[in-house]
């Protein structure tokens, strides 16, 4: 039986093989892999080439065993917006297999659930926590984590805080850009459906909308603004009251995709065609955006990338902390993109050209 040849397509390339191939010690190879300094540029290059040539990839098990730093990272989520979650998971998963860290996924329902989960984390000996929205926005959670001395990172929208890292897009700018886009299409009466008032990014998106209108010389009007709570139903209701006005808006900007989908349903119910009679756009580009019909024009957040980067930052933070050095939290901003689909067009005109 081929024993030690079972994995990796037939032959196991170790750090020793690479070392021998180049004519250096394994230690030097290790240094190159981990991007440590104190390696001559020339050596680094040779090693890198050998790694490439031999198609070497480090054994995570060995690495985490030797370095004693197999971190346990928990991902806590509370909002069962599965579509968001799954993209997040993809990113996290990718990064965790790269970094060889152990992942624990916990859901917490309701306010008292948070305490339970945190207790559990403590007993599990978790080293750090990844927080997607809406938890990333919660000062209560942040406070609890801080008291436990657990480092954490907020992914996709979180109130910048001096002692926690975060990765997000610029929600204000994104909402601003999307609103500008609607204006550029020719819309003048643009409605807006706000998200949950507790959430910070909901505010930012609202402000971005207002700012874009103002900049274009349009007056933001209260009667064009509906209050939603990030749910489909709330989007449905808010859109209904907005669209039943005498002078109904020609475009509706919902601050997430679920609400936008609800708004589309509401428009349909009122006998309005989307986008011919009313343009409706969303935010996030979750799977909801492309599973309804017409598919939603929306703002895309690179959720997977953000998650991946977030985890990476978290691990770095943990490592820095362990070595006793001070850690300055990083707030990383990623680019968003406006995705044009079938739910938007110029006012009074069909998009299907």
């Amino acid at each position: 039986m081929a024993r030690k040849v079972s994995r990796r397509g037939g032959n196991i390339v170790t750090i020793h093989d690479v070392a021998r191939h180049v004519g250096v010690s394994p230690m030097t190879v290790s240094r190159v892999i981990n991007g440590e300094k104190n390696v001559r540029e020339e050596t680094r290059k040779k090693v890198a080439e050998a790694i490439e040539a031999l198609n070497y990839s480090p054994n995570m098990a060995a690495r985490s065993l030797a370095s004693q730093d197999s971190s346990r990272i928990a991902l806590i989520y509370s909002n069962p917006s599965m579509s968001f979650l799954s993209e997040l998971l993809l990113g996290i998963l990718h990064q965790s297999s790269q970094s060889g860290c152990q992942l624990i996924i916990e859901s917490c329902e309701g306010p008292e659930g948070v305490a339970d989960v945190l207790d559990k984390l403590k007993s599990l000996g978790v080293d750090g926590v990844v927080l997607p929205p809406p938890l990333s926005d919660s000062t209560r959670v942040a406070k609890a984590l801080r008291e436990m001395g657990l480092p954490f990172v907020g992914v996709a929208t979180s109130r910048p805080s001096p002692d926690a890292a975060s990765v997000s897009i610029d929600d204000f700018k994104a909402a601003f850009a999307m609103t500008q886009r609607l204006i550029a299409l020719g819309h003048r009466r643009i409605g807006f459906i706000k998200g949950n008032p507790n959430s910070y990014y909901s505010q930012l998106r609202h402000e971005g909308y207002i700012a874009a209108l103002t900049k274009a010389g349009l007056t933001p009007e209260d009667k064009l603004i509906g209050q939603g709570y990030f749910t489909y139903r709330s989007g449905f209701d808010a859109a209904e009251s907005l669209l039943m006005r005498d002078e109904r808006p020609t475009a509706l900007f919902a601050s997430n995709d679920d609400m936008a989908a609800g708004a589309v349903a509401s428009a349909h119910r009122l006998g309005l065609d989307v986008p011919r009679d009313v343009t409706i756009v969303g935010f996030d580009d979750t799977s909801m955006a492309s599973s309804v019909w017409p598919e939603l024009t929306t703002v895309r957040q690179p959720i997977s990338d953000m998650a991946s980067l977030g985890l990476k930052m978290l691990l770095e933070q943990i490592r820095t902390r362990r070595s006793g050095q001070p850690y300055a939290p990083v707030h990383e901003i990623r680019d968003f993109a406006i995705i044009e689909r079938q739910s938007s067009s110029a006012p009074g005109e069909d998009a299907t050209d």
Copy 2:
């Protein structure tokens, strides 16, 4: 600086600690942990107690390093039905951290994508593959995998095949049960929206529906059946033509949630209230089911459990194969559940009681 005390809530318990505590060698402890035979019952018990007492948990990194059997498992998905995927991921993740296997997630788009991905798997040295629908249904993929000599497991609906394991619910029985439920509510004209004709489980669900009607003495009618393709849009269209008939059905059973959601939208557009004017139910209980309004009555598959079990079976299969023993593929069936939400009621009556 506390160095070697960084993980697991403060102190690292190793197999040596357990051994010392009991007064045996680490080897014996290892045997107990791995459930090997040739350990006296008495010894086993003492070791088990010590493990409990010291709250020991094995170090996965060390284990997989030493035993050389860290399996790499790939999850290949093609249908970007994110809500389904995320629940699957949750289950897989849970199991993989338990079993200490490395996970690789790959998406493949389109038919030629499959070949690319399989190439990649080969070069990555993957040991086994988890296949969610619709890939789990594809004989082409199964054939390719078989030729590569890669074990795989189909999760949630897969054509039972003699040489591949699978975990699924009984789609026929589930559709049967849901149809019976609608009949029990008093519905007699029950429409059905079929899924993609290529897919096996789509057929099973259709057959379940027919069987239940027949058993209740109702005649299945072709004009009550619409063809869909598992997409929102296709559900919308199919429902539209079904609901515009003179004698429109009082209930619509869509063979997945996306189509059911589309059907709801279509009903709304026609000015019909759900469920007062028409009951609409779905299948799968993906996040779509609870994010639209009214929330969908649907058949729940325990996706996360199924995925977890599937991975476990796959790992077992790999281990068995490695040891050179023959492996008889297992087809595991899990229970489904019918989830009643707001989209269903007795005909001609409002559900909100």
